[in-house]
Point group: D2
Chain length 476, copies 4
C-alpha cells in the first residue's frame, strides 16, 4: 500500500488515508443505529446480516437497497459509502453467471464457490472492493493482441490448488480500506483471450498485490475545516491495483478461462453497479440543488424567472435519477435459476445517461445562480481578525435568514464541489460505470424497436390501402 | 359551424371535416371490439360504460386510462382520439373542486350538478370537447383589466334559470364533432375577475355558440393517398369557439363567480390533461423513433456510431414520457372528499417539460438519420409511368428488406410529419397544455426543497463543527 | 421533364413549375434594376456580365458575391435564387482543379475546356444547375463495389468525340428551369472507381436526360394567397436527374477518369457552395427572427425575460452565419495557378455546422414565442363573412400596431415556415451541403492543432522544470 | 493587505502572493524581449510606451491589442496577465465618457484629469487594477434603497481638495500587486443614487484601503510541481477591496455625482473589457483543446468518430471566440470626440455569450475524451520508487509518442484544470464580465431588428398583394 511515494503500514494512522477508513467505518456505526432508515441490518435465516448482503429476491428488495445507498450517502455528507454496496453488486452478478455456467457445463463447482464466498462475507460483515477496469493499453486492440500481454489482468499459471494472475486494474475504490478485493473481467472476451477471462477474490494483504493510492488532494488542500466541508469529513480513495504474480487459491476463483461468460459477467455486474450508482448520484444532484436554492435565497434572486428556470433544470436533474431508480427496481427481472433479481436494464441505462450527460450543465446552473464570490471570497481566517472581520461581515452579508459566515460557508461548499472535489466528481459523474458513447450505443443496440416499427408499418399500410398504385416492376 | 368561409350543416358529409368525424367515430368502433386491450368498456354499478368515464379510484385505474389513450392513439395511426379523454379529465377535476366548494360553502349544489352531468355523459356515451384557453388580448393584463372586457369568457347576465356568457376560446379540439362543449377557466382569478370565474357545459348546437374550424391543410394538401398517410386517415380539428351571448341553464353551471376556485380548477384540469397528453405524446415519439430506425436500416447506416447515438436520443425521448406516465400513475394522489385519484404533479410536470423541450431536437435526429430525399423525392404518380417508373425504382432502392416504393412511403411519412403535419405537431408538442416557461417556473415554485436544503445544512454543520472560528460580530 | 406523372413540355405554362421559372426570372429582372445593391452586373474586360460569373479575384469579390446572394434571397422573400450562384461555384472549382490537373499532366486540355465553358455561360448569361449527389445505394460500399454499378454516375462508353454516362443524381435544384446542368463527382474515388470520376455540363434538353420534379406541395397546398405567402410567390424545384445513357461531347467533359482529382473537386465545389449557402441561410434565419420579434410585440410579451432570452438566441443564430461569411471572405485563399480565390475552409465549415445544428432549436424558439394560434387559427375566407368576420377581428386582435388581419398573416407566415415550407426547409437546413456528422469529422480532421499542442506542451514543460523526478526506467 | 488572516507587508516575499507578483512581473520581462510578437512596446510621440497604454486609434490597433493579450496569456501558460490590459480598458472608457461630459457641461475638467492620469500611468509603465463590482447587498434594490447605504461604493464627503469614499468592491484582480486601483461604477444610476456615481484612481498603499486576498488554494494545494503545472507558475489573485473612508485627491477623481454618466461608463468599460476577456479566453479554450487532442492521441482513440465529434466541438469553442475578436476589432467604432476606437458591441457580446455558455460543455468534452485516470492516477512521488515506479510506467503507458510520465503530466494538467483551477476557471468563464442572463437580455434589447422586420413585412405584403380580402371592419 503506497501513498505519495511512501509505504503505508496502517491506514488508520495515516493523516489522509485515515479519512477514507473513517468514512468506511461510518457504515458499521450506522449498522448499530437502531433508528437508521431503511434498516441497515436484516434477518436472513435467523441471523442478522448487513442489508447489503441480503440477496435481492424482489423489486421491493431492490428499492430498499437503493434507499439504503441513498441514506448512507446522505449520512456521508453526499459521499457514497461503497464498501458493501459494490461487493454485493459483484456477488449477485457472480451468483447468476456461475449458476448458469454450472448448468451448461456441470461439475466445475463455480456456483458453490460463490455461495461459500458470500457466506464468508456476510457472516463476517466484510468490507469489499471490486477491481474491474483494466489499464487497457492500446484501446483499439483486444487483450491478447496487445504488445505487452499484461495490460489486461490474466492467468499466467494454474494448477489444482489455484491460479497465478498478473496485470493491473485502475480506479479501484476503497480497496485500501477493504478486507478483500474482488476482480472481475472488464469486457467480453474471444477464445483467444481466454486467459483474460478471470474472476476471483483475495484479501487485500495478499502477497504480490500492490495498491497505489491516488493522492487525496481534496482533503490535503483544505487548510481549514471550512475549506474541506466534505473532503475533510467524508472521502473515498481509489487505487491503481497491481497484481504482480499473485496466487489465488482455487476456492476463490469464480471464473477461469470461461471466455463466453466474461462479457455476461462484466455487463451484469455493470448493470447492478449502475443501479447502485444512480442511488448515490441522486444525492450528489441533491447537493447541487440544495446549494443553488439556498444561494438564490441568499442573493435575493429566487423569484427572478431565469433563476427559477435554472432551479427547475436542477430539479429535473435530480428527479430524473429518482425516476430511473424507481422503475429499474419495479421492473427488476428475476433470474430463474437463482431467484435473484437484477435491475431493469432499459431504465438503469437511461438513468445513467441522463446523469452522465447533464452533470456539467447542472454544475453550470449552480454556478450561474451562486455568482462569482465562489472563487474570490476571502479566507476563513480573515473573519477572525478584529480589524477586518467586522468589515467583511458587513459587506458580505446576504439575506438575514443566514449569518454572513454561514453564507460564506455556502459559497465555500460550492467552491469545494467545483474545485477540490470537482477534479473527482466531474470525471466520476461523466465516466464512472462506462463512457457516454458506449452507453448510447448499447442503449440503441439492446432496445426493442418492435412496437415502433409496427406502428410505422401500420400507418404506411393503412395510408396506402386505397392507393391506385401498387406492385410496379423494378428495372435492373 | 364554419369552415373556410362556409357554414357547415353536416360535418359527416363535408369532404374534410368528415375525416375528423370519422376519426372520432373510430373510438366507438373500438368500444365494440371485444379484443381491444385495455378494455374500452368497463362495468360500473352493473352497467357497461366507456372506460374513459369510469372515475379513477386507484393508481391502477390511472394506468389503465393511460394505456387506453395510448392504444387508441396507436389505432389512430399516431393521432390522439380526444373526445372522451378530455371530457373525463374535466369531469374528474370538476368533481373534486365542486365537492370542496360545497364543503366550504354548503347549499350551492355544485357537486350534485357535476354528478348529474357525469351520469348523463356516461349513460349516453357522449363525445365531449373542452374549451379552456381564452383569447386573452394583452397578456400583461388580468381579465377585468382588458380594454375589451370580453377577451376572457365571462358572465354577462344571470338569474335563477341560468347565466348568459360572452367571450371566445381558442384551440378547442374536436368541438365540431362533439355532443357537448365544457367551458373551464384558463387561470386563477382575483375578486375583481369574479365574472370570469365560470365553468359549464352546453350542447354544441346551442344558439349563439359559433365554432370556426381551422382549415385542415394537412388533409387538403394531400393530392394522393401516399402524401397524406396520416392526415387523410386520422385527424382532429380545432376551432375558435365563440360564445356570442349564450344562455346556459343552471343545472349545467359548474362554477359561477367562485373566483377562489377558478385557479384550482384550471390547474387540476391541467394536471389531468397533462397526464392524458403524455399518454398520447409517447405514441408520437414512437412514430419518430420507428421512422428513424427503419430509415437507418434502409440507408444501410444503422451500425454507424453517430446514427446509433441519434437513435439512442430518440429512444430516450420516447421512454422519458413512459417513465413519467408510470410514476405519475403509481404516485397518484387520492382526493379524500371524493375518493378520486389525480396524477402526481411532479412526475406529470417533468414528463411534460421533457416532451415539450426535446421534440424539435428529436425531429432533427429523425431528419438527420433519414437524409435529404425527404423533401426532394418525386411524386407517387411518377412511379406509375412506364418510362420513368422502372428507372425510379432502380435508382431509389434501398435495403432489400423493403421495396423501393415502400421506402418512398417511409420518406413520405417523414415528409408528412415535418411538413403538413409539422405545422400542427410542432406547436402542439411545444405549447399544448401550457408554455415551457410557465411550466419551468411552476416546477420550481411547487417543488419541495426540504431534503436538499437539509442535506446542505448538514454538510456545512458537520464540516464546520471543529472550526475554531464562530460567532464574530457584524459591524453596522 | 416530369411532374406528378405527366410530361411537361413548357414549364412556364405549368401551374406550379411556372412559379419556379418565375422565381428564376426574377434574377434577370434584378439584373436590369439599376438601383439594386450590390450591382448584379459587373464590367469584365469591357463587357457587362452577371456579377455571379465574375471570377473572385479578391476577398472583396467574395464579400460582394455573398451580399448579392443575400440581397437576391431577400428580394425572393427569403427563398434563395440559385441559378447563377451554384453554377459559378462549380465553374470556379473546376477552373482551379483543371488547371492543377493540366499542370501535373499537360496535354489533356481540361482547363481550356472549362475556360471556354465559362465564356459561353457568361456571355449568354445562362442559368445553370449542378447535379452532385449520387443516389448512392448501399452507403457502406464504394461506387465500384455496389451490386448495381449504376448507383453512382459513371462513364459507360468513351471515344474521341465524347463520353456516354449513366446514373442518377438526387436533389438537383432548379435543373428544370436551367439552361444547362453541370455534373460533378460527389466524393473521393479510388482507382477502382475511375469510371465514376467524371464532371461535365450538358443542356437540359439533351437526349436521355430525364428530370423528375418533386411535387411542389408547399405551393399546391395554399388554397388562398394568405396560406402561401412565400411558396406562391417564390419557390425552387428539385429534381431526380437521371442520365439514361447520355452522350456528352468532349469539349464539355471537365473530368474523365482522373480519379485522384475527384475528391478535390467534390470538396472544393462543396467549399464554394457552403459559402454560398451561408449567404442565403442567414436570410432564412432573419425570417425566423423577424417573425418572432413581431409576434412578441403583438402578444405584448416582448419585455418578458424568457422571451428576450429566446430572441437573443435567434439573434445569435442569424449573426453566427454572418460572422462566418465575413471571415470566410476576408481570409479567402488565393489559388496561385489561376489567381482565383476560394473561401476560407475553417470559417465556412464552422458557419455551416452552426447553421445545421441550431436550426431546429431556432424554429422551436420562434414557435415558443408565437403561441398555439399558429396551428389553430381559422381560414382567411372566414374573415370575409359578415356574421363571423367582425367577431374574429374582435377576438383575435393583438397589439394596436397591427390590424387583426395582419396579425393573422404573421401567424400564417410562421405556419407556412413550419408546415408546408417546413418539409423543405428543415431537411435543407440540416442536410444541404453535407451531413452534420461528416462535417464534424472533417472539421476535426483538417484542423491545425499546432498551437494548441504547443501550448499544452509548454505548460507541462515549464511546470515540471523544477521537478526532482525525471527519466525513470519503464519495466517491460 | 491580508492573506489568510495575516497582514502581508511584502507580497514578493510571501510564499503564495509572490507567485502573483512574479506573474505580473513576467509582463515587464516580456517588454524587454525584442523578439516578442506583437511588440509589447510602441513608440508614441517619440517615446516608447507599453503597447497596452497606446490608445486604440484604428481597428488595427484593436487587433494588435488583442494579439498582445493572447500572446502574453500564452506566455503565462494560459493564465491572463491583467495588470496593464484592464487599466487601459478603464482609461479608454474614461477618456470617451469624460470628454463627452465636458462637452455637455464644460468647466469641470474631467477629461484633462483622465489625460493627466494616462500620461502618469504610461510614462511610469504602471501596473493597474480595476475595482468595479460592488458587493450589492439585496440585488432587487438600487444603491440608495439598501438598508446599509454602504453596500455600493459612495461619496461620503467632498470638498475642493477631494472626496472621501466608503464601500467595498468584490473580485478585484491583481490589486495586490498593482501600483494603483481604479474604481468605476458597476451600473447605471438614478439621481437618487448620485453619491454612488463615482470613479477615481488611488495608489494601493492609500490609507483606509484594505485588500483582503482570496486564498490561492490552487497553488497551496500543489504538493509537487507536477500537481500545480499552471498554478505554481502563473496565477492571479483577487481581493475584496474595502474603502474604509478613503480620501481621493481631486485630480484623481474622474466621475463625481454625474449620475447620468455612470451607466455609460460602466457599459463602455464593460465593452472594452469583454474584448480583452475574449482575447485571453480563447487561450483557455486552446488549452482544453490541446489537452483533449493529445489525450486522444495517447489513448489511441483519435480516429473514433465520437471522439472526432467532441474534438470538433472543442475546436468550435475556441474558434468562435476568435471570430468574435476579429470582427469586434474590424468593426470597431470611432468615438468622434476623442478619435479613440471601441470594440463593436454586437460581436463582443455574442463572443462573450458563446464563451460563457459553452465552457462547461467544453470541459465535459475534454473529460469525456481523457478518461477516468484524470482523478485516480497515483502521485508523482510514486514514480520515483524503485519497487513500484517501473510497474507504474509499465501499466500506465499510452502511445509511444509520449513517455508514461509525460502522459501522467497530461492527465495532471487536466486534473488541475478541472480541480484546483476549476474552482476559479468555471465561475470566471461563466460569470466574469457579467452574467449570462443579463447579457442575453442586453443582446436582445440593443439589437437592430430593422432588416428582419422589414423582410417579414415585405413577405406578408407581397404574399397578400393579390388576396381578394382586405379592410374588413372590427366589431367593438
Amino acid at each position: 500500500m503506497y501513498y505519495r511515494g511512501k509505504r503505508v503500514r496502517d491506514v488508520t494512522k495515516h493523516p489522509f488515508l485515515s479519512l477514507a477508513a473513517e468514512h468506511a467505518a461510518q457504515l458499521y456505526r450506522i449498522q448499530r443505529d437502531p433508528n437508521f432508515k431503511p434498516s441497515p441490518m436484516t434477518e436472513v435465516d435467523g441471523r442478522m446480516v448487513s442489508t447489503f448482503y441480503r440477496l435481492c429476491k424482489s423489486p421491493a428488495d431492490m428499492l430498499t437497497r437503493s434507499r439504503l445507498i441513498e441514506e448512507t450517502t446522505r449520512a456521508g455528507s453526499g459521499v457514497f459509502n461503497i464498501v458493501q454496496a459494490i461487493g454485493s453488486d459483484a456477488i449477485m452478478a457472480l451468483m447468476i453467471v456461475s449458476k448458469a455456467l454450472d448448468q451448461r457445463a456441470p461439475g466445475k463447482g463455480y456456483f458453490q464457490r460463490v455461495v461459500k464466498f458470500h457466506q464468508h462475507v456476510a457472516s463476517n460483515d466484510l468490507a469489499l472492493a471490486v477491481a474491474q477496469t483494466d489499464v487497457k493499453g492500446d484501446r483499439m486492440l483486444r487483450p491478447s493482441e496487445q504488445k505487452d500481454k499484461d495490460l489486461y489482468l490474466r492467468i499466467v499459471d494454474a494448477n489444482d490448488k489455484g491460479i497465478v494472475v498478473r496485470g493491473a486494474k485502475a480506479h479501484t475504490t476503497q480497496a485500501i480500506v477493504a478486507d478483500e478485493v474482488v476482480a472481475l473481467p472488464t469486457r467480453a472476451m474471444t477464445e483467444a483471450d481466454r486467459d483474460y477471462a478471470v474472476a476471483f477474490s483475495i484479501p487485500t494483504n495478499t502477497r504480490g498485490l500492490k495498491l497505489i493510492a491516488r493522492p487525496l488532494m481534496e482533503a490535503e488542500s483544505a487548510k481549514t475545516p471550512e475549506e474541506g466541508l466534505m473532503a475533510r469529513k467524508n472521502i473515498e480513495v481509489e487505487s491503481l491495483t497491481i497484481y504482480d504474480d499473485v496466487f489465488v487459491p482455487m476456492d476463490r476463483v469464480f471464473l477461469m478461462r470461461e471466455w463466453e461468460s466474461a462479457g455476461i459477467l462484466a455487463n451484469l455486474f455493470g448493470l447492478y453497479h449502475r443501479f447502485t450508482a444512480l442511488s448515490y448520484r441522486q444525492v450528489i444532484a441533491e447537493t447541487l440543488l440544495g446549494a443553488a436554492k439556498m444561494m438564490a435565497e441568499q442573493n435575493g434572486t429566487e423569484s427572478a424567472s431565469h433563476i427559477r428556470e435554472k432551479l427547475a433544470h436542477l430539479i429535473m436533474y435530480r428527479e430524473q435519477s429518482r425516476m430511473a431508480i424507481r422503475l429499474a427496481a419495479l421492473d427488476a427481472v428475476k433470474d430463474e435459476l437463482t431467484g435473484i433479481y437484477y435491475p431493469n436494464s432499459l431504465w438503469a441505462n437511461i438513468g445513467k445517461l441522463q446523469s452522465n450527460t447533464q452533470y456539467m450543465g447542472s454544475v453550470q446552473n449552480m454556478i450561474d445562480i451562486a455568482g462569482g464570490l465562489i472563487s474570490t471570497m476571502p479566507s476563513p481566517e480573515d473573519y477572525a481578525r478584529e480589524d477586518i472581520g467586522p468589515l467583511m461581515r458587513k459587506y458580505l452579508a446576504g439575506n438575514a435568514r443566514m449569518s454572513p459566515e454561514e453564507r460564506m460557508h455556502l459559497f465555500r461548499l460550492i467552491r469545494e464541489l467545483i474545485g477540490p472535489m470537482g477534479g473527482l466528481l466531474a470525471p466520476g459523474m461523466i465516466h464512472a460505470e462506462g463512457s457516454i458513447a458506449a452507453s448510447l450505443i448499447a442503449l440503441s443496440r439492446e432496445y426493442d424497436f418492435g412496437s415502433s416499427k409496427a406502428l410505422v408499418t401500420k400507418i404506411i399500410k393503412d395510408g396506402t390501402a386505397d392507393s391506385p398504385r401498387r406492385g410496379h416492376p423494378v428495372r435492373h
